[in-house]
């Protein structure tokens, strides 16, 4: 196998973020720390991919980050695939490394969304770009409204119910409680989730992802020191639509397509997955992926979730850092945490011997799905 390896990861501690407040500076320091983690000088980086800031976008953000870092790589670009961007950057980086176009790729995502002024601006900005301004926005849907429509669709078809969604929120929170960098660590019960203020349809406050500050980075390499690097065993993606009315088929179809392709690319089956890092914009997003990637083993969500199935001590650990639902608002941390688990460095959150993991990214309204299967040293490949 001649694919990419993730050789370094970095996550800025919450306490440090207050002093930074600059997405470009944050990306730069996160990349520098990821390079430290990989045992590499930043000068060895020959490509940089970032996901732009929502509130303070820059038309050449990745280029700016290179300037800040003082490096002159061959390639730099922002990736624009909505919430799927960090994982899609991994897919692109893997391609660059496989093809020999680049040797050491830095990926970063940082943003500052949590201060009271920023938070409402974030929600307004997201509401402004959701849907179609002429034909959908007039009805006033916010992103949760659109995901609620999909969730309700799946509920009506009998694939899941509100209790399943609540279980996902609760079990994800249990992982977050073990993550010192998670935003919310208070205990959460199924009753609290079900009784929380409704946002839209079956989705309440705890079904929706957070709005936080964050900064994280990855270093992908062609031939790293294999002792701490994890291999990309396979990648896949499916672009289906952008706005919900343009769904060409059932909302689960592109998820299943991505699943089939990534398992085939990696030469694994769902039962090989030791832990899953599923993009969790909403509990419903997780539910759709647990089903779409066959992680329920065909036995349905209830059986999988019962007895804390995706939480600490469960049969299939999911989002062991607490995800977007409880930890931090970027999919880059799904990759960071996946790497920690594969290295055996997740501390209190270590879910046993983790050898093969699935990581996903989702943009739009289940519009843009991408996935990667990562394998630890001595596994897969």
């Amino acid at each position: 196998m001649s694919g990419g390896w993730i050789a370094g990861v970095a996550e800025l501690p919450r306490a440090e973020l207050d002093g930074v407040a600059d997405p470009i500076g944050a990306n730069a320091i996160a990349i520098a720390r990821a390079a430290d983690d990989a045992g590499l000088p930043v000068s060895s980086i020959d490509a940089v991919l970032t996901y732009d800031s929502l509130l303070h976008p820059h038309p050449m953000q990745a280029t700016k980050v290179c300037e800040y870092l003082g490096i002159t790589p061959s390639y730099a670009s922002t990736i624009g695939a909505g919430g799927a961007s960090p994982l899609f950057a991994v897919v692109v980086a893997d391609s660059l490394v496989r093809s020999g176009v680049a040797h050491t790729v830095a990926i970063a995502h940082s943003d500052f969304r949590a201060s009271s002024a920023s938070r409402s601006a974030v929600l307004e900005k997201m509401a402004a770009v959701v849907g179609n301004p002429e034909f959908e926005d007039p009805l006033g849907p916010i992103v949760p409204t659109l995901y609620a429509l999909v969730a309700e669709w799946l509920i009506a078809e009998g694939d899941l119910d509100r209790e399943d969604l609540a279980a996902i929120a609760v079990q994800t929170r249990q992982w977050a409680r073990l993550n010192p960098n998670a935003r919310f660590t208070d205990a959460l019960t199924d009753a609290e989730v079900l009784q929380a203020p409704v946002i839209a349809g079956p989705l309440g406050r705890f079904d929706c992802c957070l709005v936080t500050d964050f900064s994280g980075a990855l270093i992908m390499q062609a031939d790293p020191d294999p002792r701490r690097a994890v291999a990309i065993a396979g990648v896949a993606g499916a672009v289906s639509h952008e706005e919900i009315t343009q769904l060409p088929e059932h909302p689960m179809a592109p998820v299943r397509r991505t699943a089939e392709a990534v398992y085939r690319a990696a030469g694994v089956v769902p039962s090989d997955i030791d832990a899953a890092f599923l993009y969790d914009s909403f509990t419903a997003t997780v539910a759709a992926q647990l089903l779409g990637y066959g992680l329920d083993g065909g036995n349905g969500l209830k059986k999988l979730l019962c007895g804390n199935g995706i939480g600490p001590g469960g049969t299939l650990p999911v989002n062991t850092h607490g995800g977007l639902l409880s930890a931090s608002t970027s999919g880059i941390f799904h990759v960071v945490e996946a790497v920690r688990q594969l290295r055996g460095e997740a501390g209190e959150r270590q879910a046993g011997d983790v050898g093969t993991v699935l990581v996903t990214g989702v943009g739009g309204v289940l519009s843009h799905n991408c996935a990667a299967i990562l394998a630890g040293a001595g596994h897969g490949g």
């Binding site: 009805l139 849907p141 916010i142």
Partner: protein, 141 residues
């Protein structure tokens, strides 16, 4: 009837109309319903485009479309991106599969509707409220 013109509110979304989409709004204002049709493959698409999303065809026209549809899914939203709609919260939003094929987002008259409910575009209510309104279809008699 001329008197109805005084009752017509702004059709929300029409402020974003382009030359491409204007026939959709003109039809609504006349109490009709029209969708873009591809002359090559006869498909209807919405939102209108410069080419057919199904066959790539470039010969497109506007044609009268069926008002009938089916509720795919509907929810009550407790938050709205539109300040002018916040006094109505919570209000229902429905995803409707039109008989001619496209999906549209619409306001169900009379509240939340079940998936599978047969509906029709209600022109009078659409013109009165300014939003695309669907009402329960009349039962076959």
């Amino acid at each position: 009837m001329a008197a109805e013109a005084n009752d017509v509110v702004a059709l929300h979304g029409e402020e974003h109309a382009t030359d491409l989409s204007r026939p959709y709004w003109e039809a609504l204002r006349c109490g009709d319903f029209a969708l873009q049709r591809c002359r090559s493959c006869d498909s209807r698409q919405h939102y209108p485009r410069l080419l057919c999303r199904f066959c790539g065809g470039r010969q497109l026209e506007w044609a009268a479309a069926s008002r009938s549809g089916t509720v795919v899914t509907a929810v009550l939203t407790y938050r709205s991106s539109k300040k002018e709609l916040r006094s109505r919260l919570p209000y229902p939003v429905a995803l409707i599969r039109l008989a001619d094929g496209p999906l549209v987002l619409a306001a169900p008259a009379g509240g939340l509707m079940y998936p599978g409910s047969r509906v029709e575009i209600d022109s009078a209510e659409t013109l009165r409220s300014g939003l695309l309104v669907v009402a329960t279809a009349a039962q076959e008699g």
